[in-house]
Symmetry: C2
Subunit: 451 residues, 2 copies
C-alpha cells in the first residue's frame, strides 16, 4: 500500500515498539548491510517505480519507433505532468502559495498523479519535512548525504522512522481532492501514468505501443529526473543571493529543467511565495502559469513576500560577502598596535627613511616616492613634517585610493596626537600653524609675515 511509504506523516508514537523477547528491537536501517539482509534495506516499491519500470521502458523504447505525433504528445504530456508537480503538488499543496478552484485541483491531482511521484499527501508532507529540517538528518532528501542520495538514493533505501520529522498536514487531511487521490493513488498512477497517455496515442492515431512506451514510460522517466533535480541540483549548483547558511541555490540551468523551480535559494527563504523567480526575465513557467490561472479565475490569493523582506535578504547576503572580501585585504596595521613615537623621534628618524606624519599617524613612504603619481618633489616635500593639511587638500585632496594606500604604510603614532605636535612645532618655530593655504587654496598671509 502506497500510504505505508510515507516518511513524513506525523508519527504519533515513538516508532520502535518493544520486541516481545528481551532482545531490544533494532530497525533494519540501524543494522549494517550484509549478504543476508541487503534486500531488507531496499524499498522495493520505490525501486520498481523509479528504476525498474524506467529502465525496462527506456530499453524497450530503443526498439519502438517514435512517430511525430507521439513525440509531440509525449512532450506535451511531459510538460502537463511536470508542471502539475511544480504548480500543484509543490506550490499549491505543499506550500499553500495560492488557492485553486476545484477544476484546477482535479487537473493537478490527475496529471500530477501521472508523474508517478507518489500521492499529493505523501509528497507534500515529505516536502514540508524537507523545508523544516533542510540539510539535517531529518531532511528526507538531505543533500549533505551526497548528490546522488538527494536525487534518487533517498527513495531507494528504507528509512529509519526515528529520523522522520513532524509537520502539520491538517490542511491536506481535510482537502477532499488530496484525500481522494491518496486513497485511490494506485488507480490514479495506473490510469494517468500509463493508460491515459497510451489511450490518447492509440485512439488518436493508432500508436498504442508508442503511446505507452514514449508518452508513458520514457516521459515519466524524464519528469522524474527533472523534478528530482530540485532536490539534488538545486541544492548543489548556483548562487546564494538570499542566505548561504543552508544548501539551496539559484541556478538558471536547474530552473530550465525544473519548470522554474531552480531559484531554490529564494524558494527556501520565501517558501510560500507563489514565485520562485522574482525577475521577469528569469525562467519560471510555473509562476507564469499560476498567474494565467489567476487571470482566468482558476487561482486566487497568490502569496508574495514583500519586496522589502526580499531586498533585506539580498542586502544582508551581499554584506556578508563583502565582509569576507574585506577581511582578506590588507588595511594596514591597526592604530592600537602601532608603536607610539615622540614627535622629536619622528623628525630624527625622517633623516634615515622617508617618514610622513598625516593625521597623527607616521607613514613610511620610502618605497612609494618613485611611484607617487603627483611626482617625487611633492611627496618629498612632506617628509619629516606634519603633512595632514597638505595631503588632505592643502596641496592636493587625495583620492580614496591614496588614503587606502597610505594606511598600508603606517609605522607609528605620535604621542598626544597630531594637534599637540602641530602646536609644539609652531611654538618652536614661532609660527601659528603649518597650514599655508586656505580652503580655496589661496596662500594665507599671517600676522608678522607680510612682505
Amino acid at each position: 500500500d502506497l500510504r505505508q511509504r510515507s516518511v513524513a506523516v506525523p508519527v504519533a508514537e515513538s516508532p520502535a515498539p518493544a520486541s516481545p523477547a528481551h532482545k531490544p528491537y533494532v530497525h533494519i536501517t540501524e543494522k549494517p548491510f550484509t549478504l543476508q539482509n541487503w534486500h531488507q534495506h531496499i524499498n522495493w516499491l520505490n525501486v520498481t517505480l523509479i528504476i525498474v519500470i524506467p529502465v525496462v521502458g527506456c530499453t524497450w523504447a530503443v526498439f519502438t519507433p517514435l512517430c511525430r505525433k507521439t513525440a509531440l504528445w509525449a512532450f506535451l504530456y511531459y510538460y502537463m505532468t511536470g508542471i502539475s508537480i511544480t504548480g500543484g503538488y509543490h506550490r499549491l499543496w505543499a506550500h499553500r502559495a495560492y488557492s485553486a478552484r476545484l477544476p484546477l485541483k482535479i487537473f493537478f491531482a490527475a496529471f500530477g498523479g501521472g508523474a508517478v511521484e507518489g500521492s499529493i499527501r505523501w509528497w507534500s508532507a515529505g516536502h514540508r519535512v524537507h523545508h523544516r529540517y533542510t540539510d539535517t538528518d531529518r531532511d528526507p532528501y538531505n543533500v549533505r548525504r551526497g548528490l546522488l542520495y538527494s536525487h534518487i538514493g533517498w527513495m531507494v533505501f528504507v528509512k529509519n522512522p526515528k529520523k522522520a520529522g513532524r509537520v502539520d498536514i491538517s490542511d491536506l487531511n481535510t482537502d477532499p481532492i488530496v484525500k481522494w487521490q491518496h486513497r485511490n493513488y494506485v488507480l490514479v498512477l495506473a490510469v494517468m501514468g500509463f493508460l491515459f497517455p497510451m489511450a490518447v496515442a492509440g485512439l488518436g492515431w493508432g500508436d498504442w505501443k508508442g503511446g505507452l512506451i514514449w508518452a508513458g514510460v520514457v516521459r515519466l522517466t524524464v519528469v522524474h529526473h527533472a523534478t528530482f533535480c530540485v532536490n539534488s541540483l538545486a541544492h548543489w549548483i548556483g548562487d546564494q543571493p538570499f542566505d548561504d547558511r543552508r544548501s539551496p541555490r539559484d541556478h538558471v540551468l536547474t530552473a530550465l529543467v525544473t519548470f522554474g523551480e531552480g531559484y531554490h535559494n529564494f524558494h527556501h527563504e520565501f517558501p510560500s511565495d507563489y514565485r520562485n523567480a522574482i525577475k521577469w526575465y528569469q525562467y519560471d513557467p510555473t509562476k507564469w502559469l499560476i498567474w494565467i490561472f489567476k487571470k482566468v479565475g482558476l487561482a486566487s490569493d497568490l502569496q508574495t513576500f514583500s519586496q522589502n523582506a526580499i531586498e533585506q535578504g539580498i542586502v544582508q547576503q551581499r554584506q556578508k560577502k563583502l565582509d569576507k572580501w574585506r577581511s582578506r585585504l590588507n588595511w594596514g596595521v591597526p592604530l592600537e598596535l602601532l608603536p607610539v613615537m615622540e614627535f622629536e623621534d619622528f623628525q630624527a628618524q625622517s633623516k634615515e627613511r622617508a617618514l610622513v606624519l598625516i593625521a597623527g599617524v607616521v607613514h613610511d613612504v620610502t618605497n612609494f616616492i618613485e611611484g607617487h603619481p603627483g611626482g617625487k618633489a611633492l611627496i618629498q616635500s612632506g617628509i619629516g613634517k606634519d603633512a595632514t593639511a597638505i595631503f588632505n587638500g592643502g596641496v592636493y585632496d587625495h583620492s580614496n585610493a591614496a588614503h587606502n594606500l597610505l594606511s598600508t604604510m603606517r609605522v607609528g603614532v605620535i604621542r598626544g596626537g597630531m594637534e599637540v605636535e602641530v602646536w609644539k612645532m609652531a611654538q618652536r618655530e614661532n609660527k601659528d600653524s603649518t597650514i599655508k593655504l586656505d580652503s580655496e587654496k589661496n596662500s594665507i598671509v599671517r600676522a608678522g609675515s607680510q612682505a
Copy 2:
C-alpha cells in the same frame, strides 16, 4: 604661437598686470559677451584647428572619392595617431605610467603630433591640472560646466588665467623629445597632421587629394572627437566601481571609442597605472600595446597599483552602495523607540491582538497568521507567550527572512528583557523554563514532571 595656448603651465606671477591708468585691469573672461567683444572671447587658433579645418575638410570629403587603399590608410593612421595620444601623450608623458626608449618616444611625439591636439607639454600639463582639480573651477575640462563644454567648449573660449591650476612639469621640461616637439610644434602639426598622410597616399598609389582629405582632415576629426570623449563621455556615462565622489566613470562604449581610456573611474583613482582596464576581457588596446612594447624592449617600468589597493576601493564603493540600499529598506522600529511594556500587559493585550514575545521584543503578528508558511496552528501556538526558543529552533529554526520579517512587526519591548520574564513566568507556573525541547529537538523531561 602655440606655446601661448597653454592654460596649464605653472604661472609664476599673478596673471593680472596692473593697467597703466587707474582703471583696474579686467580680463576678458570676466566681462560679459557683447556684440563688440565676443570675438575676444574666442580662442581663434583653437577654433581653426578643431572646428574650421575639420568642417571645411569634411565638407570637401563629400566630394572626394574614397578609394579602398586610402580608406585603409586613413583607418590605420587614425589608430596610430589616436593611440599615440593615449599611449604616449596620456599614459607615458602625462602620467609617467611607464618608461619608453627613445625610438618609441619619437614615434609617439611624431604621430601624437599628427593628432593635432597640441604639443605634449601643453597637453600633459593641462591633463595633470585636470587630475589635480577634477570637477572644480580649475579643471580645464570641468564636466560640471556641461558635456559640450568638457568635450570641446573649453578649447573654444579664452580661459581666465586666474583659474589656471599649478602642476609640476619639471620632468616634461627636461625631456628632450618633449622640448623639441613643443618648440617645433607648428612644423610637427603641418607635417604629421597633413603632409605625411597625404604623401603616403600620393607616393603610394597616386591619391594625393584623398590622402590629404581622408587620411588627413577627416581622420584627424575622428581622432579629435574620439579622444575628446575621454574628457566628456568618460565623465558622464557609466559606473563608478572605485569611488563616486567625483565624476569619472567606467563604460565599455567610451572605452571602444577611446582606445581603452573609457575605464576612467579606475584611471582617476589610479592615474599612474599603465592600465585603464584591469580585467583581461575589457577593451584596452592601449594597455595591450604598452605590454607588447615591453616584450620587445621598447618600454619598461610598467607601473601598477597593488591588487590590494584596487580591491579596497571596490569594497568601499560596494559598501557605500549597500549602505544606501539598506537605508531605503524598513528594518522595523528601532528597539530604543519602542514602548516598554510589562509582561502582564503583554499577556493581557495578547487577547485583543496576536502578540508574540521573541527575544524580549513584542511582535504583532495578527496580519501574518494567515500567510505563515509554517501554518496557522504553529504560529498561533506562540501568541501571548515567550516564543523565543520555539522560534529559534525549539520547533523550527526560522530563516533569515523570517527574522527580518519579524523585526518589521515589532510593537514593544518587555521591561527587564526576556530572561527576567521567562523567570517570572516560570516562578508563577512553578516551572523551570519554557524550553521544552533540547537542541536535538528531543523533549526535555524536567525534575518533578516525569510521568
